[in-house]
């Protein structure tokens, strides 16, 4: 454990308890601006069924035998899990940002071409307390309540709503402001927070851990206040903690993802920065300031020595997700990133969609970045719009040829995904499947074929799609080497699921 040298503070600083702020004293002044968005959303949904993707589902969903079209690949057996903000409305109150809804775990159990679905709201301590109180108690990332209750720490508002991790025999629902939540694999019930050790209880564990090809897991957590800090985790194959680091990197803001290479951990600190002084009446999101004239700072940390670091500058931009990164022989790092001009997608599009309004924003584009061993970083290429980039597990942190993303067929405008794309970084070829009008794909994952050659295209792509015209969600599987041919098979649920974020596939 590399926790020595961490500054220790007294109880007070300590009662930083309140990690993510309780703001009730300011709330009464805001009462008039808190008219609920439920009615506006419901009215908009009548006229635009695409908004089905942001409608709250029941707490529990079950479908025993999905209807399957096409031929499900015989070797593709296991469980495909997904997570995302789901309980957007409860007790007559609707959150004001997509990121705020309570998480819901979805399991697609695939066995010999027979597929069953279970969806369960993740019963976090936060949701349990709210249900016991009969009202929403806590502010969200982008929502301030007029009457929110105090927190004992960030986990007090933990909605476990971003991703799913299966590692060391454990199934975990991931958030990014606090702890991971343990899920029971048989029942999918939440079983409390995952502790990595007493000093790490309640410390942020982000939703984009990276599994190194050596089988170990790297992750980070961001704490914005009282002092901005990045926590680093290295976790063994069996789920045991191998190392922890604490990094001070100056002002921080939302950092949703990171990248690894063979030797390094890479953090891109965009100039969208949290300012605690703005928290008075603002949500955590609204206490961030966009500094378009400022540079982006890229921090590269040596995996073997967290104290060995290098910095690079880049022109400002904003993104959520990386495709991958790798090191060249001369120490240069190549970093692929889904990056927009500014954070409008976060501050506008994904906020007002909760009210039923689509506000266009700068789309994330597939951006290829070079970080030479010394000096500024360089943007080598900015290509078509791309989000939810995934590579084959075998090439995480290693040079990759193929990357799989979502995209748009026309002029992208914020959140308008319709296509699944494979990019070939060697030839520049782009292969696309267009789901067509009325369908919105979600993240598609690469699953290696059992007994295959382990190659980057010797596998399947598996992912969900919302058919908002039909009001149904489906699960698609593609041959990763033949994306334009369309899905090999699709399994349709008898109900729609809200659009979510990330998932994982567990073979078996």
């Amino acid at each position: 454990m590399t926790v020595n040298g961490i500054p220790r503070r007294g109880f007070l600083a300590a009662s930083a308890a309140c990690g993510l702020a309780h703001l009730a004293p300011f709330a009464s002044a805001l009462a008039t601006t808190h008219e609920d968005w439920s009615d506006a959303f419901d009215a908009a949904l009548e006229g635009n069924r695409m908004l089905l993707g942001w409608k709250t589902p029941p707490d529990r969903l079950d479908a025993a035998a999905l209807s399957v079209s096409g031929t499900w690949p015989g070797g593709l057996n296991g469980r495909f899990y997904r997570n995302g903000p789901s309980i957007h409305d409860r007790f007559g109150r609707r959150y004001r940002h997509w990121f705020d809804g309570d998480g819901m775990i979805h399991e697609f159990a695939i066995d010999g071409g027979s597929i069953a679905h279970r969806g369960r709201v993740i019963r976090t301590p936060k949701l349990d307390r709210e249900d016991a109180a009969g009202r929403r108690l806590y502010d969200g990332y982008g929502t301030r309540l007029p009457d929110s209750a105090p927190l004992q720490g960030p986990d007090g508002m933990n909605t476990a709503n971003i991703s799913v991790l299966h590692h060391g025999g454990e199934l975990l629902a991931l958030w990014e402001g606090g702890s991971a939540t343990r899920l029971n694999e048989s029942t999918l019930a939440a079983e409390g927070f995952r502790s990595w050790g007493p000093e790490l209880d309640g410390v942020a564990f982000s939703a984009h851990p990276k599994r190194d090809p050596d089988g170990t897991l790297w992750n980070f957590g961001i704490h914005l206040a009282p002092q901005p800090k990045i926590v680093l985790y290295h976790i063994g194959r069996g789920g045991q903690l191998l190392g922890v680091g604490l990094v001070e990197a100056g002002p921080l803001g939302l950092i949703h993802d990171f990248a690894i290479t063979r030797h390094s951990l890479v953090f891109v600190i965009e100039p969208f920065l949290f300012d605690p002084a703005r928290l008075g009446s603002a949500s955590i999101l609204d206490a961030h300031t966009w500094h378009p004239q400022a540079e982006t700072r890229v921090l590269v940390i040596d995996k073997a020595d967290f104290g060995a670091r290098r910095w690079h500058a880049l022109p400002s931009g904003f993104g959520f997700h990386f495709g991958n990164a790798w090191e060249e022989a001369d120490g240069s790092i190549r970093l692929d990133y889904c990056r927009a001009r500014d954070p409008g997608i976060l501050t506008e599009t994904l906020r007002y969609v909760m009210k039923g309004e689509f506000v266009p924003s700068s789309p994330p584009r597939y951006t290829r970045i070079l970080l030479p061993p010394g000096g500024d970083g360089r943007i080598v290429a900015q290509e078509q719009d791309a989000e939810f980039a995934r590579v084959a597990p075998a090439v995480v942190g290693r040079r990759h040829r193929y990357v799989y993303t979502l995209g748009s067929p026309g002029e992208p405008a914020g959140w308008s995904f319709r296509t699944v794309v494979r990019r070939d970084l060697e030839t520049g070829a782009i292969e696309t499947f267009d789901y067509g009008p009325g369908r919105i794909p979600e993240e598609h994952l690469f699953v290696p074929k059992p007994g295959g050659n382990g190659g980057e295209d010797d596998g399947w792509l598996i992912g969900t799609v919302l058919d908002w015209k039909a009001g149904l969600t489906g699960l698609s599987v593609f041959d990763a080497a033949a994306i334009p041919a369309g899905p090999l098979a699709q399994a349709w649920l008898p109900y729609p699921l809200p659009l979510g974020f990330h998932g994982t596939f567990v073979p078996g």
């Binding site: 926790v3 961490i6 220790r8 503070r9 007294g10 109880f11 007070l12 600083a13 300590a14 009662s15 930083a16 308890a17 309140c18 990690g19 993510l20 702020a21 309780h22 703001l23 009730a24 004293p25 709330a27 007790f91 007559g92 109150r93 301590p125 307390r129 109180a133 009969g134 009202r135 929403r136 108690l137 007029p146 009457d147 929110s148 209750a149 105090p150 927190l151 004992q152 720490g153 960030p154 007090g156 007493p198 000093e199 790490l200 209880d201 309640g202 410390v203 704490h223 206040a225 009282p226 800090k229 926590v231 922890v244 604490l246 605690p276 928290l279």
Partner: protein
Amino acid sequence: MKRIPLLLAAGVFLSGLPALTAPGISGAALAAELTIAISGITSAEGRVYVAVHHERGNVSFPDTEGAVAGAWRMAKEGGFDISFSGLEPGRYAVSGFHDTDGDGELDMNLLGIPTESFGFGNGASGLFGPASFEASSIALKQTATIRLPIGYSGPAGPTDRRSDQ
């Protein structure tokens, strides 16, 4: 495990007395009695510690260095009162925590976030830190009772519950 001695400086660790006499305060008018109504204790494990700050020492609140009195009781589910008699009239703020492992210290993670339940007088809370002396305090003339919810299971906060439906 990071441990912070919350009440060592407060002096008193007496238990089982109906009312404690605050140390370190001398003079004529020590006639007032402050009762702390603790609530929200979820288990009988360990102890519950409280600390009392007088307005003169408010800059250090809730650091126990500046506390004028403190006490602990064996934890029991729900709530109970602790009274301090012989106090000088004035303004007092209180804080407390549930020391579930009974080591006399408020355990914290490596970022300084407590991993045991805590609370401030009146159910006050702070922004990225402890509640203020002012919000956690009450005026004491002869007798007064201040509410100290610990953790999440006490009253949801200083705000009255509103009807949402």
